[in-house]
C-alpha cells in the first residue's frame, strides 16, 4: 500500500475520550503531515465568567477541566489576589498550605490518570486498570477533604472553603505511604520492561529547541530538557517553603515524558508530607468582599503545565475581562513536529503523550489546510448556534 490516504483520528474516536480531530496524512503506515483541528467543545467560559460575580467565577472555571479542577480556580484566585496585593499578603498561611496540598493531590491523580491512559493507548490494559485503581484512594482523599471527588470547590478569593481537620491528617499520610509502593511498581513496570522500551523510546521526539519554539510547558517541556516549572520560577502557595526538585529529562521522547510524570509522583508525595507536618494553626479565610479596580495575572503549574489567568476589574462586582490560557493549548500544537514522520501506531501515543485536555483549549479557528483560509472562527460558531436556536424555535412554534 503506497498510495496516500487520510486517516482520521476523531472527531469521535476511541483513542481519546474528548472530541478532537487529528487528520493524519498517511503514506503507507507513515504519517507525512498532520492537521490538528480542535474546537468542538467551545463553551464560552471567558464570556460567561464576565457575567458572573467575582466569587462565583471559581466554580465556573473549575468546570473548564475535570482533571485540573484545582489549577484553574487557583490561577483565577491568584489573579484576583494579584489585584489585592499578592497571595502571600492576603491569604492566611494555613490556607496556603491547604491550597498546596490540594494542588499536589491533584497532580498525583492527574499523573496516575495519564499513566493509565498511556498504557491503554499502547494496548497495555493492565497498566491502565492498575493505575486507575491506585488513583481511587486519592479521589477518596479529595472527597474527605473537600467533599467532592472531582470538582473540589476549595479555592476562594482570600483563602479556602474547607479546612483539613486534624483527625483527617493520619489518613492522608497513610494514603501517601500506600502510594509510594505503587509508584515504585509503575516505575519498575515502565523502566524495566523491554517491550515498553521498544514501544516508547525514540518515539515522538520533541527536541529542546522545538520545545522552546512551540512554547510547550509542563512535563512536555521538562521531558525535552527545558527546565521550567511555575512552582519554582514564580512560587505560589508554599512551594518556596518546602524542599522538592524539578524533574527534567533530556530525551524528549514519549518514554521521557512518562519518566518525568512518574518521578513527579514522588516529588508530590514529598511536598504533601512536608506540608502536613509544617501546617500552622489559624484562620483559613481572609473574608474578602470587594475587589478594587485593576488588573492581575495568576499562573499555576497545572499537571499539564502552566495554566494562566488574566483578570481585569473596574471596581464593580464582575470581571470586565477574563482571559484563560490552558497548558494543552500550546502542548497540542507541538504534535505538529513531534508526530510527523512516525508510523500510525506511534502517532497515537505521541498525540496522547502531551496529556492533552481538549475542553481546556477551546478558542481555535478552523483552518483549511489547502488555502490556509479560516473556515470557522469563534464568531461563526456563535452564529451557527444562534441560527440553530432560531430553527428550533421556529419548529417548536416559539416566537420571541
Amino acid at each position: 500500500m503506497s498510495h496516500k490516504v487520510i486517516v482520521p483520528i476523531g472527531p469521535y474516536h476511541p483513542l481519546q475520550e474528548e472530541p478532537e480531530f487529528f487528520r493524519l496524512h498517511v503514506d503507507g503506515e507513515k504519517v507525512t503531515d498532520i492537521d490538528i483541528i480542535i474546537g468542538y467543545m467551545h463553551r464560552g467560559i471567558e464570556e460567561l465568567s464576565e457575567h458572573k460575580h467575582f466569587h462565583q467565577v471559581p466554580y465556573l472555571v473549575e468546570r473548564i477541566c475535570g482533571i485540573c479542577s484545582s489549577s484553574h480556580p487557583y490561577a483565577y484566585v491568584l489573579a484576583i489576589e494579584d489585584i489585592l496585593g499578592g497571595e502571600a499578603n492576603v491569604v492566611p498561611e494555613r490556607a496556603l498550605y491547604i491550597r498546596t496540598i490540594v494542588d499536589e493531590l491533584q497532580r498525583l491523580h492527574s499523573h496516575l490518570l495519564w499513566l493509565g491512559l498511556a498504557g491503554h493507548f499502547i494496548g497495555y490494559n493492565t497498566v491502565w486498570m492498575w493505575a486507575w485503581r491506585y488513583r481511587e484512594p486519592l479521589l477518596d482523599l479529595f472527597e474527605m477533604i473537600t467533599g467532592n471527588r472531582n470538582h473540589y470547590g476549595i479555592s476562594k478569593i482570600g483563602g479556602v472553603i474547607h479546612d483539613i481537620k486534624d483527625e483527617d491528617i493520619p489518613a492522608i499520610k497513610k494514603a501517601m505511604d500506600d502510594l509510594v509502593p505503587a509508584a515504585n511498581m509503575f516505575k519498575g513496570a515502565v523502566m524495566d520492561d523491554p517491550v515498553i522500551h521498544a514501544r516508547l523510546k525514540g518515539v515522538g521526539i520533541l527536541t529542546k529547541q522545538q520545545a522552546i519554539d512551540w512554547c510547550t510547558v509542563g512535563p512536555t517541556a521538562r521531558a525535552s530538557g527545558v527546565d521550567i516549572d511555575v512552582r519554582r520560577d514564580d512560587p505560589y502557595g508554599v512551594f518556596d517553603k518546602v524542599k522538592w526538585n524539578v524533574i527534567v529529562e533530556k530525551e524528549g521522547d514519549v518514554f521521557a515524558k512518562a519518566v518525568v510524570r512518574i518521578l513527579e509522583l514522588y516529588e508530590s508525595v514529598g511536598i504533601i508530607r512536608q506540608c502536613l507536618d509544617k501546617m500552622p494553626k489559624g484562620p483559613i479565610d481572609a473574608d474578602i468582599k470587594d475587589i478594587p479596580p485593576g488588573e492581575g495575572i495568576g499562573h499555576v503549574e497545572a499537571p499539564r503545565g502552566e495554566c494562566f489567568h488574566y483578570v481585569r476589574s473596574d471596581g464593580t462586582n464582575r470581571p470586565v475581562r477574563h482571559k484563560i490560557r490552558a497548558p494543552s493549548y500550546v502542548n497540542i500544537a507541538s504534535n505538529k513536529v513531534a508526530a510527523v514522520g512516525q508510523t500510525i501506531s506511534d502517532t497515537t501515543i505521541t498525540l496522547a503523550a502531551v496529556d492533552p485536555c481538549y475542553c481546556c483549549t477551546e478558542r481555535v479557528a478552523v483552518l483549511d489546510k489547502k488555502t490556509d483560509k479560516q473556515v470557522l472562527n469563534g464568531w461563526d460558531l456563535i452564529k451557527l448556534s444562534q441560527e440553530k436556536t432560531e430553527k428550533i424555535k421556529k419548529r417548536m412554534g416559539i416566537n420571541v
Binding site: V7, H13, L15, E29, N125, T126, R133, I196, T343, S345
Partner: protein, 306 residues
C-alpha cells in the same frame, strides 16, 4: 449413512457446534481472568453467547460500494476453520481414520480465517480497514514462517509423517514431542505464533482499537460480525488443541486434554495481559528474527535426533 455421520461430525461434534461452544467458553475464561487481573469483576459465563445472539439481531450495514465479497468473506473463514476443528477432533477420537497429508490441509485451512479477514476488509473500502488489512497481511507473512518451521520439527520428530493420526500414535508410543530440546524450542515458538494467529496483544495491531478503531473489522456489523466473532472463538479452541496434538500428544484422555488446554489458555491470557501492543514492524522483526532462528535451530536439532 456415512454421509450423515460426516455431516454430524462437521456440524455438531466435534465440528461447528461443539467447537464454537468450547471456544466461546474459553473466550469467557479469557475475559474473566483478564478482568480479575485488572481488579474488575468480569462478565458471567454466558456473556459471549449473549453477545453473539445480540449481534444476530442487529442490523447489517453494508458500506456503499462494497461487493458481495464483503458479506461472503466471514463465511469463508468460518467454514474452513470448522473443517479444521472437525478434523482435529475426529483425529483425537480415532487417530487411524485420517488420511496422509491432513496436516498440510490443516495448516492451509488455519490461514484462511486471516485471509477472509483481509478479503472482507479490502472489500469494505475503508481507509482504516485498509491500514488494518495491510498490518494483518504483514503479520500473516511474519508468523507463518516460524510456525511452519516448528511444525516441520514435529514432522521430523514423529518419524517424517504428514498425517495427524500418525503424529499422535508416534507420541503415544515414544513420548510427547515437547519432552525433547527441539520439541521445547518449537513449542515456545509456536506459542508466540498462536498469540499472533489469535490476534491477541501484543500482536493485535491489525485491530488496534486505539489506533485504527478495530481496523479490519471496522465496517462489519450484525450477522457478519457475529460470524467473525464465532470464527475467532473457534480459533481459540482450535489453536491450543492443535498445539496439544503436535507437542503434548502422549496422553489424550479427556481429562488430560482439558488440563493441557487450560494450561495453554492461561499462557495466552498471561502474555496478553503483561505486554503492550508492538508495532507491526517490530512484530515482523520478532517473527523473522529470533523466532525463525529458534525454529530453524529446532529443525536442525530434530534432524540431529535431539
Amino acid at each position: 449413512m456415512k454421509a450423515l455421520i460426516n455431516l454430524f461430525t462437521y456440524l455438531i461434534f466435534p465440528g461447528f457446534l461443539f467447537s464454537a461452544c468450547i471456544g466461546l467458553i474459553a473466550g469467557w475464561v479469557d475475559r474473566k481472568v483478564t478482568a480479575r487481573i485488572h481488579w474488575r469483576v468480569g462478565p458471567p459465563w454466558y456473556q459471549n453467547f449473549v453477545d453473539i445472539v445480540k449481534l444476530l439481531g442487529k442490523e447489517t450495514i453494508v458500506p456503499a460500494g462494497a461487493k458481495m465479497t464483503f458479506l461472503l468473506a466471514p463465511y469463508l473463514g468460518l467454514l474452513s476453520l470448522t473443517l479444521v476443528a472437525a478434523a482435529l477432533g475426529s483425529n483425537i477420537l480415532s487417530p487411524l481414520e485420517g488420511f496422509v497429508g491432513d496436516l498440510i490441509v490443516v495448516l492451509y485451512l488455519l490461514v484462511v480465517p486471516a485471509v477472509a479477514l483481509i478479503i472482507g476488509a479490502a472489500s469494505s473500502r475503508n481507509p482504516l480497514a485498509s491500514v488494518g488489512l495491510s498490518r494483518e497481511m504483514k503479520l500473516v507473512l511474519g508468523y507463518e514462517l516460524p510456525f511452519i518451521l516448528s511444525v516441520i520439527t514435529v514432522i521430523i520428530k514423529s518419524g517424517i509423517t504428514i498425517q495427524i493420526g500418525e503424529i499422535i500414535n508416534h507420541q503415544i508410543n515414544f513420548g510427547s514431542n515437547i519432552a525433547s530440546i527441539s520439541g521445547t524450542l518449537a513449542f515456545l515458538v509456536s506459542i508466540f505464533c498462536m498469540q499472533a494467529k489469535l490476534g491477541f496483544v501484543p500482536f493485535d495491531a491489525s485491530e488496534a482499537e486505539q489506533e485504527i478503531m478495530g481496523g479490519v473489522l471496522i465496517e462489519y456489523s450484525g450477522l457478519p460480525l457475529a460470524i467473525f466473532k464465532v470464527t475467532k472463538a473457534i480459533l481459540l479452541y482450535t489453536m491450543p488443541l492443535f498445539l496439544i496434538i503436535l507437542f503434548m500428544g502422549k496422553d489424550l484422555s479427556p481429562l488430560f486434554i482439558i488440563a493441557k488446554f487450560v494450561l495453554l489458555l492461561v499462557i495466552i491470557v498471561l502474555i496478553k495481559n503483561t505486554s503492550p501492543r508492538v508495532r507491526i514492524d517490530q512484530a515482523l522483526r520478532w517473527f523473522w528474527g529470533p523466532m525463525s532462528f529458534l525454529a530453524s535451530a529446532a529443525v536442525i536439532l530434530a534432524l540431529l535426533g535431539k
